[in-house]
Symmetry: C2
Subunit: 428 residues, 2 copies
Amino acid sequence: MGAGMAKSIAICAVGDELLAGAHPDLNSPFLARALLEMGHEVRQVIVVGDDEALIAESVERLARSAQLVFVTGGLGPTLDDVTRHGVARAVGSELVTSPEALAQIEAWYARSRREMPSSNLRQALVPKGAKVLFNPTGTAPGFEVACETSRVLVLPGPPAELQAIWSEVVEPLLIASAPVECLRLVRSFHLQGLSESVFADQCGDWMGRDENPLLGVTVARGVLTVRCVARGQNEDQVQALLDGRADQLRERFDQWIFSQDTSDPAEVLVRLLEQRGETISCAESCTGGLLSAALTGVPGASAVFSVAHTVYSAKAKQEVLGVSEQLLRDHGAVSEQVAGAMALGAAERTGANLALSISGIAGPEGGTPERPVGLVTFGVCYRGRVWTEKRNWAPLAGRAQIRVWATSHALVRGVRALEGRLDFDQSA
Amino acid sequence: MGAGMAKSIAICAVGDELLAGAHPDLNSPFLARALLEMGHEVRQVIVVGDDEALIAESVERLARSAQLVFVTGGLGPTLDDVTRHGVARAVGSELVTSPEALAQIEAWYARSRREMPSSNLRQALVPKGAKVLFNPTGTAPGFEVACETSRVLVLPGPPAELQAIWSEVVEPLLIASAPVECLRLVRSFHLQGLSESVFADQCGDWMGRDENPLLGVTVARGVLTVRCVARGQNEDQVQALLDGRADQLRERFDQWIFSQDTSDPAEVLVRLLEQRGETISCAESCTGGLLSAALTGVPGASAVFSVAHTVYSAKAKQEVLGVSEQLLRDHGAVSEQVAGAMALGAAERTGANLALSISGIAGPEGGTPERPVGLVTFGVCYRGRVWTEKRNWAPLAGRAQIRVWATSHALVRGVRALEGRLDFDQSA
């Protein structure tokens, strides 16, 4: 934790759903990570249901030992949301309607061109004297209030809202009120095709908690994001620390790194195509539209993307993409040969420079000893040349996960094709 | 908690990694869910790092208010694992080597045909008087110990080990020692097209915390899930409570309810089609594959789904689906007319009984005063007849959210078409 500048921090996560086993608490890990990168360690998290007395008791207790207490969730408009009541009780204040909070909620509804239901009035209630924190994406404003010598920051529970209010409001507020005296810079690397444990094994003690740079790893949608956070007294020193670790990472993990900017391989691919004035299409079987959805999820995708096909049945592969019946019979729909023919067919029929295809067995049914669940074949057709590949994922990972991994995998293969890093001559 | 038969339960999850933002705590949701299904509600979860004093303090405090305290994690062989020390301190016992625990660890190594490192001796330590709980998959035995009037159950942290020890050892132990005397039943309703606040407004005090049934609401992917949990002494009484609330919910919210089984409208739609031996296709613009991906996300979708198209450009709408240039020019690509033509084209060209189409402006760019971001038009073609609709979502919701809402909306329109609840005569 270093030089005693660090604050003692606790989190109280509120929500019946967190205790009903429906959802893990994702906000606390997010906050803990973000705070750790600022040099602060979270010492304790308490998760309680939507229970006013228990919220009050927890906040009060945490405020006795922590300088900063975050409370998340339970700020919705419905009667079961009682976080503001619990916090008011903890700090011994009454709840009052904040004109500022009300104005924010009304503005949200005005922007949405919808009428504000009267239940939302409840969301304008804050403990008397609280400072309202603007919620950039939802209707529930957050607020800050003092409890004994602690600062209590109360934030909305939906993760997207929590993350937006953190980065736009809370993080700047913390930096402004307690300037970090040592410089802190972050550099990220996004990898595809490597598991968290293999990464951890291969990077050894770089992940130690006292390392500088501090290395953190998160995994989402088949993408491993490595964040390096370096600290030091001046920019040269911190950049040198980051450069050193970056070199080591590139040396060991270059084949898996696809980006330093964004963890979304679809975005990397769309931007690359844009820069080159090229176009893409895709042909999907087991992913059934996820690849197309990922590409069109990138704002501005229309500059490079016009059409794509989900060809779930053998008949559709023949009719829509011209895959030959013979090929399907000889090799089966899940084969490198058919994946290659799908990519070629998609490129020829849509006129796209680049076409990606996926055909696999996502399960839970449909596996055979030769073609087990988790087998996925890929095709890339770039400027008329075809490259294919097959992968085996663990059947146990499940249908949804296999489809998501296959999608990220195909997108990164597209990036590699544009970068000239796929060996089209070596393909089956 | 109602009739006082259910146990008051708390969990203390231990592990530095849980506070470093690397991993959410998945054990607590697992235990909470499993306990809830036995009729017990978890009232509180505390997450602390590998810190002996804090573990001791947390366990002691939880044992004062809960009858059953679960402690998870921190039972590894390394020096940073101090859960057994913290628990021993909380219950005021010394740690002793348990011959039974030692035998289990030795047996584990014998089965793995590996030599036991001496560090594993540490895992045989338990507070004096503790009952050892057999770990079916790992080296760390769990144990149970009394703390004041509470039972404290200490379990290994790796989720696979936790889940194995739960189902093979802990659950049978709880059932044997405390049969559930108060009956508790759950019924869920899944709604689409209604916000949490509007629902709350219309259901009034049904959501109060002392209501029986207790009503809880969660929102995901544009679907609102209402859980009713009723408690009572016997099945007739509890079923009657649920029936009463279910009737009221149906009376007020029938037009939005699409399922009682699953919150996934794609699953409802695929199952309905399967039962009727009918087939589906879709044609997407702004959702760009999400609809197709949702349908193929349902295991067994191949029985009803063969092919779908993403037609992002005007040209693709013409070429792939036969939408006329005239129609596109007269009404624009985002119009009920074009959405209707897309659905009709998809049905005709794929031979599917049911075709769904979506064309809209997901943003952030591309909006105009007449066609703002958030405007989405839908088409349904069922057995040759076409129905269309338009919706306006708040631009602020953002591209990703608008696409997800539009997808759920279209799927539920498909369900309604099959149920005979779309008025095809009234369509534009």
